[in-house]
């Protein structure tokens, strides 16, 4: 992590020259930029340095384009890609449509026969792997399981785009968060079928309809920052896949709301009140949203993110375990909090020089030190453990992720009206219901070791 001086000007000293360049290149957030500019008003040497560096930047910008595109290269590129690499285009002419339709039926017969064999073999493989402790989870079994999950979620989505969380056993105050988790299962599986696109479209419309003028998704309740953080993450991931610019204005407001809710110490609580104490559980969702938004091109997030990460880092104890609102204080246990915190730190390290490699190594050791418990006992813990294993990118983490996913696969319902879902019999089932258990289990299952 860079030191304070690199992004905050002390009254007595000059900013780092690198920060003067960053200021000229619009790389500082508003607060940092204002601090550098204020300093330059009274410091002749920094003004002179800025003028010199600014002149270099201008000289570069004044230089005309190096090369013009003389011709379109698209055809030449396409010629080098095998035709069978593309998905068939069913909008071809009538002859093509007939041929495709016939081939599709033929292929469907083959797929059903072959698929059935594969599924049976996969399940036999899964159960044998589970007992032998082998590493890989059969790709086909996962694909089939996730397809079933999406089908179930699509089947229970209301025409308005809402998932009735209460009707499926969840609490009303978490309806939006649960809807956000359900949307995420589609946003992270961009299988471009018409049905999936339609589910996403309806869900997005419903969520946008719940946004208030101040940017908050949903009502001002105790659970509002869970709702808001999760929905913002879901919409950002949807935006990343669809590129739907109509989402941008809502996301601008949602991200600003998160920034405004940041407490002075850097964390987030259930609400930004004078007596509020930040906690890891709420803060991780807000940081996820900010990190995602920065990746997707939202600017001026650096200061908020760094402040948030610094606060999150202050929750880690000497053994690499995260506390709830201070180190070594975790009334509900440390496993989920540590997985959440580590996941966030690993995610940040992909784009930010946010933590020393020593801390990251310590966190990697911490997440594999916890015994993997039965997935059925806590799907939420399971999801964050899977996310932490996935972003840690070590062989041991891959092995643990595979083990966890086998446990999830075994718990999925296979028959009846709820085939494809997971029963909400875990620790949080009474708050989240079946939409929660299904969405969170699917999110953990789809991660690739």
């Amino acid at each position: 992590m860079t030191n304070d001086r690199s992004y905050e000007v002390q009254q007595s000293g000059c900013p780092a020259p690198e920060d003067i360049v960053a200021c000229l290149c619009n790389e500082l957030d508003l607060r940092e930029k204002a601090a550098v500019e204020k300093h330059m008003e009274t410091c002749a040497s920094c003004r002179a340095l800025a003028a010199e560096l600014g002149a270099s930047i201008q000289a570069l910008k004044d230089c005309p384009e190096e090369q013009d595109l003389h011709r379109d290269l698209t055809d030449e590129i396409l010629k080098k890609i095998p035709q069978d690499a593309w998905r068939p285009d069913i909008t071809d002419g009538p002859a093509g449509r007939f041929q495709f339709s016939f081939l599709l039926r033929l292929a469907a017969c083959f797929v059903i026969l072959f698929g059935a064999t594969l599924v049976i073999r996969s399940w036999m493989k899964v159960s044998s792997q589970a007992s032998s402790g082998a590493v890989a989870v059969a790709h086909t079994a996962k694909t089939v399981a996730l397809k079933d999950t999406r089908q179930w979620l699509a089947s229970v989505q209301e025409p308005s785009g809402r998932w009735d969380a209460v009707g499926w056993g969840g609490k009303k105050e978490y309806t939006l968060a649960l809807n956000g988790l359900a949307l995420l299962t589609f946003a992270r599986n961009p299988v471009s079928t018409k049905e999936n696109a339609s589910v996403v479209d309806r869900a997005v419309k419903y969520m946008l309809s719940c946004q208030r003028e101040n940017g908050l998704f949903g009502e001002e309740t105790e659970g509002m920052m869970y709702n808001h953080g999760i929905v913002t993450v879901a919409l950002l991931e949807t935006y990343a896949i669809t590129g739907d610019v109509s989402l941008k204005a809502s996301l601008d407001k949602a991200i600003n709301f998160i920034r405004k809710q940041q407490l002075a110490a850097g964390g987030w609580s259930y609400a930004n009140r004078p007596d509020a104490t930040a906690n890891t559980s709420v803060a991780v969702w807000q940081l996820q949203a900010l990190l995602l938004s920065a990746r997707l091109g939202w600017e001026d997030q650096d200061y908020t993110i760094r402040k948030g990460l610094r606060w999150l880092g202050s929750m880690i104890d000497d053994g690499g375990q995260f506390g709830y609102d201070r180190p070594r204080n975790s009334p509900e246990g440390t496993v989920t909090l540590t997985a959440m915190g580590a996941f966030c730190m690993f995610m940040a390290s992909e784009t930010e020089a946010s933590s020393s490699s020593g801390i990251l190594t310590q966190l990697k050791k911490a997440i594999v030190s916890s015994k993997l418990e039965d997935a059925n006992s806590d799907f939420y813990r399971c999801y964050f453990q899977a996310s932490a294993f996935n972003t840690a990118k070590t062989k041991e983490c891959d092995r643990m992720l595979a083990k966890l996913q086998r446990s999830l696969l075994a718990a999925q319902e296979r028959s009846g009206n709820n085939a494809g879902s997971w029963s909400p019999g875990d620790r949080w089932g009474s708050a989240g219901g079946r939409i929660y258990s299904t969405a969170v289990a699917a999110l953990a299952l789809e991660l690739k070791p």
Partner: protein, 170 residues
Amino acid sequence: MMALAAEGDKSAFVALVSKYQGMLLNFFGRMGVYSGDGDDLVQETFLRLFNYRERYKPTAKFTTFLYLMARQVQADYYRKQLRRTAMVEAFGKEPPQEEQDNGQNEDRKFSVNKALNTLSEEMRCVIVMSIYQGLKYAEIAEVLDVPVGTVKTRMFHALQKLRKVIKHDE
């Protein structure tokens, strides 16, 4: 769009090529690639993008992924051109120019390109990506696999060096 292309959607891939081919050509030009080779490198980058499409994470910014591919293609190009570069250096010649530097713009272009040639490849890349390609420091850091602080430092030293060279020429 990239997620669709990764799923085998040809029209999505075509849209990406149409949108980004000019930008890539300019990137290679600014990085000192001989102008006659620019088209080949753009094609190679998109083919690599296609071949590695399954590695793309929808949560990552597409241009960051594209520049990662472009940097790999550029590195391969430099390795292949080693003999030619060594020859150019041995004879103390600049890479061949397609046009004469007779206008004011061309003079400025020549001067700036000469200044860019004095930078190390690492510094040049940071300048080109930030000033010409419009990437944020965080994206450049991701493409180059270095901390953001390193990007900031390289940017400052590169601009300082460029100023000296451009001033000297003036």
